[in-house]
Structure formats: structure tokens, C-alpha cells
Symmetry: D2
């Protein structure tokens, strides 16, 4: 049975998700597209041969004929769209963050609880990256003993800084915009939540972020309830590319994922030395993971099972990110 999906949001990531649904995910039909930008919307719908196109999300739902929606709209619209789609009886895939405030997240929680037979999935795609999945499996098998330290780096390339500055007023800051992925990974790998958080950072290259109480590079150290440690770093000035690396230290082994960032398996020996080029953005690094998570969404619908990531994970990550932001802004230790 083909699952008919409507996709909302044709930004960079939304376009990728929609493309995947149209061309690369077996068992689905991209039945409708929705974006506020009518020109872009109709160009894409025409090019891909998608019959139904809407500038209004409610209109898409009213149009009927859908089994599910994929929500990749601006973050502040997520929870309302999640609730509306579930109310119509649709399965829902939503990009992170669940909501831009904890209060919004509660709305999504309520909607999900009200429709327990519908699949709700949150787009923490890193969990579907083969390397992260492999690491999680190793940890689950006890192969590194007890994990006690999580280190997560997330860096955007300096080459993308103009976009980051333009978006700074709406991003919520780096902890909410970027570190939320690492917060999810930390909880996933460590199995514990923070009890205290210290966060620092600064505008080392781009003073523009200061007006939004943000830095261009920030860091947080969290003490977990089970005494575990989490160090998060998020930055916007990476000279070499898009860099997501993760380390989990355990009492019997240490795992590092992408600790030497690489674009592919090519090594270059030239006048710069021996080098590897890097991925330049999240679509390049996590292209496979975006496919894998959507295939998992489809599988859950078909088989009636639940995605591993719950709506509560979404709320918790948002909450922790806000606590990081508070610690950063107040220069105080924040306790949860």
C-alpha cells in the first residue's frame, strides 16, 4: 500500500525531504506540497509532477487524500501543524525542534497523547546515521563499559556565516538551534539527564551575534543526574567545513564518531600536506540519515510500530537547550 504524504516547507532541508519522498523513498507518494512562497512552490510542484500544491497548511489538510505529513516548516509553526495534522488522523513526521518553547512542546505532547494510534516521529536524524547507530549498538552491548563522558561538537563552516548572521534573530541562539541535536545524542548515549549546567562562549569573530545574547562559538558543561559528564560545543566559524563529531568515553572503551571530519574516502597529498576535505553542510554529511529516518517513518506506519524518538524527547531537549541558554546569558550555574 502506497502511503500518501504531504510535505510542508521547501527550505533547504524541506526541499531535500520532499525530494526524497518524491524520488528516493519506496512505498510512498508525494501527494501534496505546501510552502508560503507560491512561486517556489509551484515551480517545484511542476518540475516534479506533484498535482496538489498549497500555500496554506490547513488548506492542504482540507484537501484530503493524505495519510501522513512531513513538517519541515519554520520552527515556530511546528507544534500547531503537528496538532492539526494529528487531529485529522494523519501520521506526522516533524523536523526538530519539536517547538521553540517548552510551552509549545506541551501542546505537541497533548496532541500526540490524544492520538496514540498515529505515528509521530521527530527528526533527530543523527540517530539514523550508520555510524551513530553502530556506536549506540556497541554501547548497548556493553562494549565500552559504563559511559561517563559525552563530548559533542557541532560546527558550521565560516563560509556560511552570512546566512547565520541574517538568521540570528530567529534562531533562538546556538544552543537551541544547533546544540539540540547533541543534547538528543547525549541523552540517547548516556541515558541520563542533566542536573546542573554551566555555559560560556563569546563573539570571537562576529560581534553581530552579541545583540541577540548569543556567541559565534559557545560551550556547555553538564553534570548528569547519574554523575555522568556532557561537554557540548557549538560554533559557527569552522574554517574547514561542517563538522559534527562525537565522543563517548566509557570505563572500558572510548568511541569517537567522525573525529577526523571527512567528505569522502579520498585523501589528498599535495603542497598542503596530507589532507582530507570536509563535508560542507548537514545535507552532505547526513544525506543517508535523512533517507534512513524517512524510511523508518514509513516502516512504522506500515507495521504499526513506534519510532524510538518520542515527543517527550523533543520536549526534554528543548528544555535543556533553554537551560543552556539561561546559563550562558546569566553566567550562573543553572540547576535543573
Amino acid at each position: 500500500m502506497t502511503i500518501r504524504i504531504g510535505a510542508v516547507g521547501l527550505g533547504r532541508l524541506g526541499h531535500r525531504h520532499a525530494w526524497n519522498l518524491r524520488f528516493a523513498i519506496p512505498g510512498v507518494e508525494l501527494a501534496a506540497l505546501c510552502d508560503a512562497d507560491a512561486e517556489k512552490l509551484h515551480a517545484v510542484a511542476r518540475e516534479w509532477g506533484v498535482a496538489r500544491a498549497y500555500t496554506d497548511f490547513a488548506a492542504m489538510l482540507d484537501g484530503g487524500g493524505l495519510d501522513a505529513v512531513a513538517i519541515v516548516s519554520p520552527s515556530h509553526l511546528h507544534t500547531a501543524q503537528i496538532a492539526a495534522a494529528l487531529e485529522r488522523g494523519l501520521h506526522v513526521f516533524s523536523e526538530k525542534p519539536l517547538g521553540t518553547t517548552v510551552e509549545e512542546c506541551r501542546i505537541a505532547e497533548a496532541a500526540v497523547e490524544k492520538h496514540p494510534d498515529r505515528v509521530f516521529m521527530l527528526g533527530f536524524m543523527r540517530r539514523y546515521d550508520p555510524s551513530y547507530a553502530y556506536a549506540r549498538k556497541m554501547i548497548g552491548e556493553g562494549r565500552i563499559g559504563r559511559p561517563f563522558l559525552f563530548r559533542g561538537y557541532c560546527q558550521d563552516p565560516e563560509s556560511a556565516i552570512q546566512g547565520a548572521i541574517a538568521y540570528a534573530g530567529h534562531s533562538g541562539g546556538q544552543f537551541i538551534d544547533m546544540a539540540v541535536h547533541d543534547i538528543d545524542l547525549a541523552r540517547w548515549f548516556m541515558g541520563s539527564d542533566p542536573k546542573s549546567i554551566f555555559a560560556i562562549g563569546g563573539c570571537y569573530a562576529h560581534p553581530e551575534f552579541a545583540q541577540y545574547n548569543d556567541g559565534d562559538n559557545v560551550a556547555a558543561l553538564m553534570h548528569l543526574k547519574d554523575d555522568g559528564m556532557v561537554f557540548l560545543f557549538a560554533g559557527r566559524t569552522a574554517p574547514h567545513g561542517y563538522n559534527v563529531e562525537t565522543e563517548i568515553m566509557g570505563t572500558q572503551g572510548i568511541l569517537r564518531i567522525a573525529a577526523v571530519p571527512q567528505k569522502n574516502l579520498v585523501e589528498i597529498l599535495d603542497r598542503h600536506g596530507v589532507r582530507k576535505e570536509c563535508s560542507q553542510n548537514f545535507l552532505e554529511r547526513f544525506g543517508d540519515a535523512y533517507l534512513a529516518e524517512m524510511n523508518e517513518f514509513v516502516r512504522c506506519i506500515n507495521e504499526g510500530c513506534r519510532p524510538e524518538v518520542t515527543v517527550y524527547d523533543g520536549t526534554k531537549c528543548t528544555e535543556i537547550a533553554y537551560k543552556c541558554k539561561e546559563a550562558f546569558e546569566t553566567n550562573e550555574l543553572v540547576r535543573l
Copy 2:
């Protein structure tokens, strides 16, 4: 328009290709399956919901309703099946090698020449691996100057040795069975053919190969017509896994592909040191490439264009592999 493809051969790689056609390649329908093993054939057909299943290739062609075939049968059947399918007006994808002798290859050449409007594609999948494709592009842009040395390693893991021994009588030897991929890459990267070949090797761990005039590890050094150098190594006793690595030296840069074999991006620090695990077989290492090449086959059919790899490349690679074998068996320098 959906392309209806019949797949012949359900061995390890054939099963993967058929699975891809059934579940992962958009725009195609796996319309028929063919394998000599009736039990396996019908089990797979039933599980995947493929209506038509044949134990005889000619019967599958007679059954009609196909636009193309994917040939992943035993090597000695390739050329006859290629010719038969083209004769029926079908597009043909065939796994390497083109044929098991140069004479067989000529049959395929004649068939392809007779049907210039049909797409014929040979499965040198490495060309579709993102890293190899990236390296090829860099070389094409002149970024390493003039390439003058190609080094190609292809190693199967020791853990698979029993299968290799069982198959040794039919493989044609390592140069024909394994090195043919590297011969294709060497020609692709270097743009020149060998004028002389020296080949050596031995049975260092498994004397069983000697009765087939083969070694468990072999190597060849080729001088190219343009003076370039090619060093090939093929082995069956790799302790760490399936290892395909390639180096192209140029006058201004050197490229290495997968020079540090890795299974994924996970690095493990434990009592064995700092380590990466390795891929264990070609399906794991080249899974993406098998998908990409089949998508390219589909694209060529849809857009009426020609795959980069021609039938003549197939013949040439087979010819060179035989010359390597001759050099190995005679301990003499073989000139072409």
C-alpha cells in the same frame, strides 16, 4: 514511465541487485526473476511479490513484458545472455566480467554493435562510488597534474577463504576474478593501456590454490604505453576485512582512496589501541555504488544516453587480466 526489468541470478550479488530493483530504485518494476535454483527462486519471488519467476533465462525472455534485464548470473553465461536479451530488443545491464574469455567478449561486442539503440551497461560499480567519482573528477580537472602511477589493492578477508577455495576451480584465478576491477580503474584513471606486464605471487597460506595455477596473493606490475606505471595487488588472506584501496600519483598531487580502510566513521579506543573496524565484503563497502550504477542504467534508458563504460572496456579488461594470468603462470614478461 516505469521500466520493467527482469533480473537473472540470485547469488549474493544478484540477490542484492534484485532487492535494489524491487525496493530501492525509483522508476523501475522488478517484473521477473530468474535463477537455476528453483527453490530459492520461488522463495524470493514469493517474499517480494514478484509474479513471474523462471528457472530458464530464455523462458524469461519468451515471457515478454520486459524493457530490460539485469544479468548477474555465473560469469560464463554472461555473453550468451547479453546477446539473447539484446536480440529481443531489451536494454542490458551485465555484471562484470563481460565474458570469461576474450572470444566470448567479442560475441558481446558484436551483439552490442548490432543494437546501437539499446543501452548496454557493464557493472564496474566502483566508478559509481562517490569517492572514486570524486577522485576521477579531480584528475579530470588537472588537479594532480599528469598521473603516472596507479596502485590498486583488492583483498578479500581471510574469514571468507573457504568459499574462495571452493570456488577456485571456476574463478579463473585472482587476476580475472578480482583484479579486473582494478584493471578497469587503472585504465579509467590513467587513460592508457599496458605494453608489458610482469606478474608474481604464491600460495603463502593456502596451498589449495596452486593446483589451479593460482596464488592466494598475487601482484602485477604493468608498464603503460604512455610510460605510466600500474601496480596491482590482489589477495585472499586479509586479516582485517575487505580492503579495496587505490592510489593515483600525479606530478602535482597524489590521491588515495580508502587508504585507511574503514567500516564507518566510528573510531574505537580500547585495549587494542586506536582502531577502525573494516568492511567485511564488497556489498558492505560498495552498497551505495551498486545503487548508483543501477540508477545510472535507468537514467540512460530514460534519457537515451550511453553509460560511460563500454562493451570494449569489458573486452579490454578481460584481455589484460588474461595477460596477467599468463605472466603469472609463465614467470615471463608478457608484452602486448
Copy 3:
């Protein structure tokens, strides 16, 4: 002119320093040895042909005939021995830490100030490691822009845990015992001191450390006065060996020193994958640095110049280490 040096302390590192002075540092004579363990002392003196051997430091000084001393005694003896040797007009090399309390450090400061014509050098040997020196030079040349994050890891191998447990009551804890090297590096690379510190950790594998208010693995996050960030991690349970790695992020480049720990240049491909073995202790990793720093001490004496590391650096590092310890013990943010 040969410099006559008396060496005090024949523990593991003291023995190495004395050996270097006896056999590997040109231009010096190991003129006297001192250690409280008479048996060990005389055995070493006899084996190396060192005529004068003392179980008492004052007696060694009284014995005369020395130009300099190398102090590698237990940490709590450092400052008194420094002062006594300077008072006799000797040049002084002292291992870290300068003192075990800030008050002790002040004693050393006063002694050094009173003898401005004597060379005083503190053994922060990492500064003399070729890789650290190279990184420092690059930073000094502005090649990574403004440094804004320092990450320092220092891990002892689990295989050495029994010794660490036995010594736990005297070590002062991991921040003072181990992290002090990273504190020195952080100040050296970043050029700024901390204004606030948060420190956490736990006994994840070895509860024995809890009675000393220490953990088996600990971490600290510091905000520097110039807004820079410092993350320190010190651990005693590394499964793979002795691991010291350092990262300095700048606005235009990032440097990592020993980010993939390695024993030597040998890479091993075996059933564990592709791996490098690790150094197992500080003598193995920093053997060259111990030589280089002592050669620098000798050079300073001969040329009448000052070592880069001052006595004040020693005090400051001790002070910061104590603040880390305080933060760790109180679970509070400590401001300086």
C-alpha cells in the same frame, strides 16, 4: 665548561632525569645523587659511576662542588629545596608542581626573586615537545587567527590504576596532579587566565577515589578573562594507554596535537581492524621533551638567559588547579 649537577629524587621520573643528565645531555656532569632510599641510591650511583651520593638534600648542598640541582623529589619538598639551593647560589631545575599549596609557591617566588642571576626553571616539559612547540609557533604567527577554545585531555591508562589508587591520598587529586600540565598549556596557548570555573566528575570505575574527594575521571570548564574557553578532562581509566591530546580552536584555523594517540608510526591491520597502539606512560610519550627541557636548562645557564616558564607560571597553575578542586568539591561555580 661542564656544568656539575646534583639530582634529587630517583622515582620513575627522577631516575629518567638523572639518567639523561648522566648519559644523554652534553655539557653536564651528574656530580651527585640524592634520594631518601639509601639502597636504591647507592645501587644507581654505583651502576652509573656517580661518586657522591646522599640521602639528605642539605648534605648534598653542603658537599659543595655543584653548579646546579635538578629537583625531582616528592612535590611537598619542592619549594624548600628550591629555596635552599638558590641560597647556595645554585641554578635550579624543579619538576612540576612548583608547590603543593599556593603558600608554598610564594616561598619559591621569594627565593627566585632574591637570586635574579640564577636560572630557575620549572619542568613543564610539554612546552618542549616538538609538536606542542610547533603549534605554539603557528599560533604566535597568527596562523589560526584568534584562539578561543582550548581542549586538553590527560589520561592515564587503566593498567596503572593500582598505583594511582595507592597514591591517591598524596596526589592532591587529579586537577592538581594531572591537569596542572594542561592548565599551563592553556595559559601558554590562550594568553589569558580564568575568571570562572565549573568542575565535575565522578568515580565511575573505582570508588576508592571518593574518600579523597576525588574522581577517577574529572572535567572542568573555564571562562577566561578575555572570554576564551578552556575545557579540561583528566582521567585514570583510559583503556588504550597514556593519552594526552590538545586542541586549540582559532577563528581561522584549528590545531590538534596527538588527537589520534599513537605509540609510533606503525599501523597494524589485523583482526581488530586498522589500528595504532598507544604510548603507555609519560616517559614514553614525552621522552624527547624531557631531554629538550634539560638541554634548555643547560643552555640558559651557559648563555645567561631565562627559561620561558617563570616561577609565577608555577604559582598560577597551582592556584587554578586548586580552584578547579574547589569547584569539584563544592559543586559550585568558582569565580577568580
Copy 4:
């Protein structure tokens, strides 16, 4: 007892050896210097305070007062100087190659045989590099099973090409000048000598080498008497630096030494990607090995033992290098 050594040759490597003897090797006195260039000779002697300086080797021997000589003169002088020094009863350290022809090597053999109580050591310094020594030890312990393939790369940087071109007429070609080190390593690691050799190459960037029947990059494939395989590559156009890497494949493990060339432990992340810089010449890469081999020479003299490398190894390496050259020049398979 201090060993008094006279050093002949103040070229780049000769200067380093003499410096080591003067400043860095305990237990020796650099008692005399010899070089045909009087100006350079006296400048160095004055700067280092070496009392005796000669422009003539025989005069240095006549001057008396020496226990040993270190011969780092032009290659064609080696064997005569070896014989003359042994005749005077001196211990002899000679740089590679033993001689520039096999006939010359026989002269050295005879001289060494005539003075069995004198230490004769040939400067194959790579054997004293910690990583090569570690690899050799692992192989000796059987940890990689039976070694069956040796791959040796030796590349000089393109940045040094002008010197190489100027010296091309006297170098004897790359097999004799550069590959001789790898020939020694191959014999050392593999424990067998070649029975047939094929060698190729070309002038890919610098046609100047053609007039000397040499290439700027050359390669050889050797079949050993025990069926083992040796692949040697020597090049003069490395874009990244001085690159010596070695691989030994065994039936149970594979060792790679310096397979990712590196200058030190610093990794740089910048706009060129993630990179390591490389050593730029043999003095930088093998600085420690030059020290270690000279210390071994001194130890052998003091303890009356024999260096592992014998004069016969020197002859054999020269003989094999000439066979490579013959194969390269004739384009024929050369059998030994």
C-alpha cells in the same frame, strides 16, 4: 673510555653526523674533521672547537690519535677509505652505499674480513628508527604470520628537484641512490633475496633525467627466492614532502610504517581541510635514527659486539640495485 672519532665529509648528512658526534653522542670525542672543501672545513672546525682538520683523508689517518672514523664522503670514495681506515686498526662507520659498484664492495668485504676485531658498520639508519625497529620486532615474534609482500616507497619532494637534477649524473640513478634503503629493508623484513626483477618508470615531469637513463619516478617488482613479493617505488616529485613509507603484508597481519606521512603530531583544520604537514627531508624524518645508529656504533666498539648490518648486506644491496637499474634500462626481466 672516550672514543676518539674522525669524521670525513661535511655535506648535508656528513655535517649532521659530525654535529651529532660533537654535541649529542655521549662517550665520544670528535677528534678530527676532514673535507675537501678547506674553507667549509676550517669554518666548522673553528666553530665547534675541533682542533684537527684535514682536507686529505690519508693525512687524517696519518695524524693518529683516532679510534674510529665516520665516513660520509662521496660514495665513490667509501670503499677505499674503509680499507685504509681498517688497515690503520680503526673502527669504521660508513654511510650507504657501501660502494658504487659491486667490484668496489668486494674491496670493502676483503678489508673487513682481514680485520675481524674491528667494528665495521654500514649506515642503513632506517633499521634504527623506532618504528621500523618495532615492526621488525613484531615480525620476529611471528605476529603477522609469514611475511609475503613488502612495499617500499621513497620520495623526495619536488621542492628539492633542482638539486636532484644537478646531481643526476653522479647519483647512479634512483635505484642505486634512493631505493637501496628499501632494498635493505626488504631483505631485513622478508629474509629472502630476489630471483627476478622487472623495473619501469619514466620522466613524467623532468625530462632532464632521461639523458642519464634514469626517470624522475621509477618502480620495480621483484620475485623473491622464497616466492615473496617486493614492490619498490622511488620518486623525485612528491608534492607534499619527503615520504618514506613501508608496508609488510603477512598471512596473519599487515604492518604499515608511516603510511600517512607526518611531520609531527600536529593536525591542522583549515580551509584546506583536515591535514598533516610532512617531513621535508631525510634529516627531519630520520634525525633520531641517525643518532641511534651512531650510538649503536659506539656501543659495539665499547662492548666488542658486531652491528646487525654486515658488509655483505652492503654488497648485496648494491648488487640488487644494479639489477633493478639493468631491468629499467633494458625493459627486460632480469633474473639473478
